[in-house]
């Protein structure tokens, strides 16, 4: 397969970037998108050019580090997959593919296609945990019965891999889906209720401080999320937040 790649190149955070064209040949439909990028980089290195920097780690859809805005969508045109799981058979011979970094004020570009997503870490640190005594007096988690639906919903929320596709897709660069998944994961379990009132307020405050936009319920995040995180989590976070404000 022959492709025309248009890739965002940017030397570092302080340099202005631009789109550069890279024609590429010999791409197999069974390759993953990142393998295609590897082929391109091998070519560039052989030619003595600077390879394109992009984030990746597990290459099996669980770490959330691969990003890439592909033809205007995070993780490309396929649904419920990360970029590392996207196959080149989703594209046709002679296609033009535009590859950009995830764009948000809160996700500044570090180099080429790599963005700084530590804003997510700071939201997590603001309340995405429970305080448990781990000094040897721990109580077996299963000692507290939890109804099946809540356990399932909590687990689905916990499936968020923090990839940032929700922010990248959103026209407002809002981080509500990510934050709501992290809030919901704990809000649904008795272990998480103890700090629930402070958690939601602290995490939302941090989310706003980072400069993410306001949610307008377009639902783009839910469609693009590789883990199928549901908008119900955002509604739950709104409820948690409002009731936390009422409780003070």
């Amino acid at each position: 397969m022959k492709l025309n790649l248009k890739i965002w190149r940017q030397k570092d955070a302080n340099t202005k970037g631009q789109i550069k064209e890279y024609p590429i040949d010999g791409i197999d439909g069974d390759m993953s998108f990142l393998e295609m990028m590897d082929v391109l980089n091998e070519d560039l290195i052989a030619k003595g050019e600077e390879p394109v920097e992009f984030d990746h780690d597990c290459r099996e859809g669980i770490c959330g580090s691969c990003s890439l805005q592909i033809n205007g969508e995070p993780h490309g045109p396929d649904r419920m997959v990360t970029t590392c799981q996207l196959h080149m058979r989703k594209f046709k011979d002679n296609d033009t593919i535009v590859i950009e970094p995830f764009r948000a004020k809160a996700f500044p570009v570090i180099k080429d296609l790599i963005v700084d997503r530590t804003a997510f870490d700071r939201i997590q640190q603001a309340g995405g945990y429970i305080s448990v005594n781990t000094s040897g007096h721990t109580v077996d988690a299963n000692a507290i019965p939890i109804n099946k639906e809540d356990a399932d919903d909590s687990f689905y929320a916990a499936a968020c891999i923090g990839c940032g596709a929700c922010v990248a897709a959103c026209k407002n660069a809002s981080a509500m889906l990510f934050t709501s998944a992290k809030v919901s994961q704990y809000a649904l379990l008795p272990q998480g209720r103890i700090e629930a009132v402070e958690r939601v307020q602290n995490m939302v405050r941090q989310m706003d401080l980072e400069g993410f936009g306001n949610c307008t319920n377009t639902g783009a995040c839910e469609v693009e999320c590789p883990k199928g995180i549901s908008l119900e989590n955002i509604a739950r976070m709104n409820r948690e937040y409002l009731s936390a404000k009422v409780k003070g």
């Binding site: 969508e73 706003d208 307008t216 319920n217 908008l231 955002i234």
Partner: protein, 222 residues
């Protein structure tokens, strides 16, 4: 309003509550207006009541105006903040792949409604204020029907009103159901709410459009 705008969720709730309030008002406004087509005497009677009842004039009317102002000011605030959240735009952004047009362009439909409201205020509210308080005319409970029908004589006004109603429908197609999500309501009733909201979003603006067109083609012959 700074207290209301402190957190992104509070801003959403202000948007949702003011929007829902306007949706309710729209239903009430439609109920009165439709009588101008089916029962002109009732229309005169109700319009006169609305125009001279002190509770409506001095309590409900200011609340309504405040509701509209809060809603569109907050709409613009959200739009500005959201634009700032993505300083460098995408070279290619396929917004249509993951969200409907109506949800992505609330500011466009909203701005058209705002422009319409300016005309609408000029047409009816300014006229009423002038009639009642500047010219100090006596009460006339029979004038409303003829005044309304007359307004729709020019083609341009009828067309502008109808265009605005189309944009209003688009605004509500996203906004009505969205306001429930903003307030944290997303449960087993949500499919039903969405269905009702969609019907309301189309039926009410369509009704308003029919009223305008009806009066345009059925002028009062003197």
């Amino acid at each position: 309003m700074s207290g209301l705008t402190k957190s992104s969720i509070a801003r959403k709730v202000v948007m949702a509550l003011s929007g829902l309030f306007l949706v309710l008002f729209l239903g009430q406004h439609f109920t009165i207006n439709i009588t101008s087509v089916i029962a002109p005497d009732t229309f005169n009677e109700w319009s006169h009541f609305m125009g001279y009842n002190p509770l409506v004039q001095y309590l409900l009317q200011p609340i309504l105006i405040a509701g509209v102002v809060v809603h569109f000011v907050m709409g613009f605030v959200l739009e500005i903040q959201n634009n700032k959240a993505r300083v460098i735009k995408y070279v290619k952004y396929n917004g249509g792949a993951n969200a409907p047009w109506v949800s992505r362009n609330m500011i466009i439909s909203g701005a058209v409604i705002l422009a319409f409201l300016a005309l609408h205020f000029y047409d009816f509210w300014v006229h009423e204020m002038t009639y009642k308080y500047i010219e100090s005319n006596p009460e006339d409970p029979t004038r409303y029907y003829a005044e309304t029908v007359e307004k729709f004589e020019p083609v341009w006004r009828t067309v502008l009103y109808v265009i605005s109603f189309v944009l209003l429908a688009l605004h509500l197609l996203h906004g009505f159901a969205s306001s429930f999500q903003s307030m944290g309501v997303n449960n087993k009733y949500t499919p039903g709410i969405k269905k009702f909201a969609r019907i309301y979003a189309i039926a009410i603006p369509l009704g308003f459009a029919i009223i305008a067109i009806y009066h345009h083609f059925n002028p009062i012959t003197h």
